[in-house]
Symmetry: D2
Subunit: 288 residues, 4 copies
C-alpha cells in the first residue's frame, strides 16, 4: 500500500509540476466556445442570400414583399439578435452571386432562399459554399431552398417532397417536438401560419440529427419542417414555412425561428481538427 501511495504522490507531483508550467495552459487552442463568443459579444456575421427573382417580376409577390423577401428576413434577425449580429444581403444577380471567397470568409452564417432560379447558381459557387460549410460556416436553408444545389449537395439525397399551392393557401400548424431546443426558443406551441403552401412527406433527406418542428396542414399532410444537421465543422438548419405567395416572412414567430436558426448555426465552436491536419502519413505517436 505504501508503494502504491508513493507512486501516486510521484505521479501527482510530476503532474502538478507539469501543469504549473504556463506553456501547458497556453498550449490550449483557441478558447472560443459559443459561450465565450457570446460573452465577448463577438458578432455573428450573417449573409442573407435571396435569388430575388419572384419579387421583381410577379406583382402578386411584389405586393407582399416590395423590398424582397430578404427585407423581412433581415428585419427579424436584427430585431431578435440585435447587437449580436451584423447582417449583409447578397443576391443572385451580383457578381459570383455576392458569394465570393472573400465574402464567404467573412460570413459565419448564411441564409438561403431560392426557387425559380436554382439552375442559375454557378456550380463553382456551390462548391465554394459547400467547402465553407464543412469548414465551419452555418447555413439556414428556407422553404423552396430544399431543391437548391447547395442543399442537395450537403444532404446527398434527392430532397424531393409533396406540395400543394392553392389559391389562398391553407393553414399550417407548426409543432415543436423538442421544446427546449434553441431554435424553438420564444415561440408558442404550436405556431399557426394562417396561409401557406403545403409541403408534405415523404421528404427525401437523411434522418435529421435533431428534429425540432413537425407541421400539419388543413389537407392532413405532415412535414418535418424544422431539421438540424451537423456536417464537418459546420451546421445546417432547414426551416420550411414561407413562400413567395404568402406573407409568412412578415410573421414575428417565423422571424424568431429564423433568427434562432441563425444563432444555432453560429453556435459551432472553432474546430479542433481541420482537413490540413489530416493530410499525409501520420507518424506513429505524432501526438505525444
Amino acid at each position: 500500500m505504501l508503494a502504491r501511495r508513493q507512486l501516486r504522490v510521484t505521479i501527482w507531483n510530476e503532474y502538478v509540476h507539469e501543469r504549473r508550467e504556463p506553456s501547458v495552459q497556453t498550449d490550449l487552442p483557441d478558447r472560443r466556445s459559443a459561450s465565450h463568443l457570446m460573452l465577448a459579444r463577438r458578432q455573428l456575421r450573417v449573409t442573407i442570400w435571396n435569388e430575388y427573382v419572384h419579387e421583381r417580376r410577379e406583382p402578386s409577390v411584389q405586393a407582399i414583399y416590395p423590398d424582397g423577401m430578404h427585407a423581412p428576413i433581415a428585419e427579424g434577425i436584427r430585431r431578435e439578435l440585435g447587437d449580436a449580429v451584423t447582417v449583409r444581403i447578397a443576391t443572385l444577380e451580383e457578381p459570383e452571386h455576392g458569394l465570393t471567397e472573400a465574402a464567404l470568409a467573412e460570413t459565419d452564417v448564411l441564409t438561403w432562399w431560392g426557387h425559380a432560379a436554382h439552375d442559375q447558381v454557378a456550380d463553382e459557387v456551390v462548391e465554394r459554399v459547400h467547402a465553407r460549410v464543412l469548414d465551419g460556416m452555418g447555413i439556414v436553408v428556407l422553404h423552396s431552398g430544399h431543391y437548391s444545389k447547395i442543399f442537395k449537395r450537403v444532404m446527398g439525397t434527392s430532397c424531393s417532397l409533396r406540395w400543394r399551392s392553392e389559391e389562398g393557401g391553407e393553414r399550417e400548424v407548426i409543432w415543436t417536438v423538442n421544446p427546449a431546443h434553441p431554435i424553438a426558443a420564444g415561440v408558442p406551441q404550436p405556431i399557426v401560419v394562417a396561409h401557406d403552401e403545403m409541403y408534405g412527406e415523404y421528404f427525401d433527406i437523411p434522418p435529421p440529427d435533431e428534429l425540432v418542428f413537425i407541421s400539419s396542414y388543413e389537407g392532413g399532410e405532415v412535414f418535418r419542417s424544422g431539421c438540424c444537421f451537423y456536417r464537418g465543422a459546420g451546421r445546417l438548419a432547414y426551416f420550411s414555412p414561407g413562400d413567395q405567395e404568402f406573407p409568412v416572412y412578415h410573421q414575428p414567430e417565423i422571424q424568431r425561428v429564423i433568427a434562432n436558426c441563425v444563432a444555432w448555426c453560429g453556435g459551432a465552436s472553432q474546430p479542433n481538427d481541420g482537413p490540413s491536419a489530416r493530410e499525409g502519413n501520420s507518424k506513429r505517436n505524432w501526438y505525444l
Copy 2:
C-alpha cells in the same frame, strides 16, 4: 389572375394590420434563448455534487485531492466560465445530499461524481433530480457516475462497461469525432491523459444523441467517452475520464471539457411546452 392578386393583397393587408398590433409581438413567450441568456450575462447556476467519500478515507486519494475532487472541478469551471457562472458545492452527507427542492430549483446545471456510495443516495432525491432534468436542468455525469442511480434512471439501461484499474493506470487518448461541438472547444486533438483507469466497450447506454469523444487505452480498448443526450427539456452530458486514484481532474484540458459540458448542458432554452400543458382532454382547436 386579377382575382388572385386581389386575394393576395387582401390577405396581406389583413396580415399587416394584425401584426402591427402590439399584442401580437408581446404575445411571444419568454424570449430567453441561449444567445439571449449569454448576451444578458444571466449567470448559469452550477451545483457540483460529489459523494466525497474516497477523499476522506483513503490516503492515496487524499494525496491527490486533499480538498476533494470537487475542488479542482470547481476551479476549472470558474476559470473557464468566469462570470458566466455561479458555483455551489453539495455532498452526500448533507441533509438530502444538499439537493433539496429549493437547491435544485436554483440549479441550472448539476455535475455528478459518485462511486463508493451510489446506494446511499436516497431514491427520493434521485426522483427529484430526474424530474428537474426533464424540466430543463442540465446534468454532467462524470466517470464512475455511470453506475449512479440517476444516470441509470435517465438512460433506462444497465450502464455496465468493462474496466481495468492497474497500478499506475495507463495512457488514455481522447479523440474528438465532432470537432466543432461545443464540448470539444478549446482542447487539443487528441487530449492525452498520462495515467487513468481503463473504461472499455461495450458501454450499455442508449445510442448517444451526439457522440463527441472516443478514447483509446494502452491495452487497446476503446470507449465512447463524451456523449450528449436530450431528455425532456433537459440535457445530459457524460464524460468518462477521471478517477479518484489519478490526478485527472487537475489536468487543464479535462477541466476545460467539463466546463464545456456545463455550458452545453446550460444551453437548453426555456421550453415552449411543459407537462402542465399536456394534462386533460385537449379540446379541438384549443390553439386557435
Copy 3:
C-alpha cells in the same frame, strides 16, 4: 522493395496457415443473424400481453373487441407472419401477469397493451421484463402503453403527451417518413384510420433512434406515431394508433404494421457482448 514483398508473403503465409485451421472457423460465435434465422425458419416466439380490463367491464369496448384486443392483434400477426411465428397470449390477471421468468425466457418479442391498470403491474415483473429487453428480447408498445411502467422505465422520461377522446373520434392520417423501413412494409402512404383517439405532441420520449411514422389528426395535431429504439441487446418499437373505443386493431393495415414491428423487434442478432463478459477487472490483453 524486395524486403517489403518478402514480409508480405510471410505475413500472408502465416495468415493462410492460420485461417485454414478449422478451429478458426469454428471459433466464430453463434452464427445466427436475422437472415440466418429466417432462412432456417426458426420461429419467433411472440407473447401478446393485454391488461384485458376494458373489454370485460365496458359494453362499448366489448362490442368492438368481444374476445379482447389481443384477439385481432394475434390474428394480424398470425396472418402476416404465418409460420415464422408462434403466438401466445398473457394477461394481467394471470399469476405474475403471465410473465414468469420461464415465460420471458421463451419469448423473443413481447407486445404490450395497457391503460386502466398500469399501476397493478408488479414492479418485480417490470424489472424482469426490462432486464429481458436489455438481454435481447424485443418489445412492441402499443397506444396507451406509453404510460406503462415498462415503457417509462426503458425510456427514462415522463412519456406524457396531449390527447383528446371525442365521441366518434377523429380521422388519423399516418404518414411514413422512412419509406423503406421494415415496419412500413406493405402499407399504403398514408394509412388512414377513420376514427381514433387523438395523441399529440409534445410526446416526452428520447429522440427516437429511427422515426418511421408521423400522424396528423382532424384537429391539426401531429404525433410521432411509429418510433424505434435500440436498448442494450434488445429493440423497442412504439406504435400509437389504437384505442379500446375504436375498432383500430381490426384494420388490416394497422395489423400489418404491428406484425412488422414484431418482425423488426425480432431482428436483433445474438449479441456478441453480454453483461457477464463485463464483470471484474479486465486484464490487459485479455482478448489476444
Copy 4:
C-alpha cells in the same frame, strides 16, 4: 351512454363490413418485407465492384490477392449467405465499369472497393449508382472507398481521415458498440486484425445513423470503422478494415462482417412512397 354505445356499434358494423371486402385486403401494396423476402427465399442479387488495379500491377498485392480482392470478398459472402444470394463481379475496366442501367436494375446490394483509380470512375456512372441507392439498392463501401466519388456523393462531406501505412502495418482491434446489431452477428468481441493500415479520426462523415464498430490501433488512434446510414429508400454500410497490402479480406471474421453488411443493406423493404408519387401539385384529399 346508450347513444355512445350505438355509435360505436354503428362504426364497428360499418367498419367490419368494409374490411370484409376483398378489395381492402388486396389494396395493400406489395407485401414484401425483409422477413417475407427471406421466408420466400428470394435471393439477394449482389454485385461486387472492385477497381482491380493494385492487384494487377503491384507484385506485393498480387501475392496476397492473386485473383483480386473481389475473390475473397465473394468467397466470404457465398460462404456466409449461401443460397440467400447470387454474386456477380464487376470491375472498372469493363464498359460502363460493369454498372450499366440493366446491371444496376438487377442488383440489390453493391459492394465497392476502390483506391488508386477513383478519378477514373465516370461521373455518369456515379450518378446512376447514386440514384439506384436512393431508389432502394444497398451499398457496402469498403476501406479506401471512403474517398470514392459515390461515397462522397452520398455523404455530402469531404470524407477525409488520418492514415498511416507502415511496413508490416499495425494491429487493429475492432470493438462492437451495438452488440446485437445484425452487422456484428457471429463475430467475436473484439475482432483482432493482426496487420492493417491505420485509419484515424477525425473522419469527416455525417453522424452515422447507427454506429456499430470502433477500431483502435497500436499507435493509439481510434476510428468509427462500422457505420450504417439510411438514405432515401436505400441503405449504406461503411466498413473500414482491409487494405491491398494486407490479407485482411482473407480473415473469416472480416468476411463475416462484410456478408452481414450485405444482408443488412439488403434488408430495406419495398418503399411505400417513391419519387413518382411526389410529382406535381397534390390535390387536397388525394389520399381519401
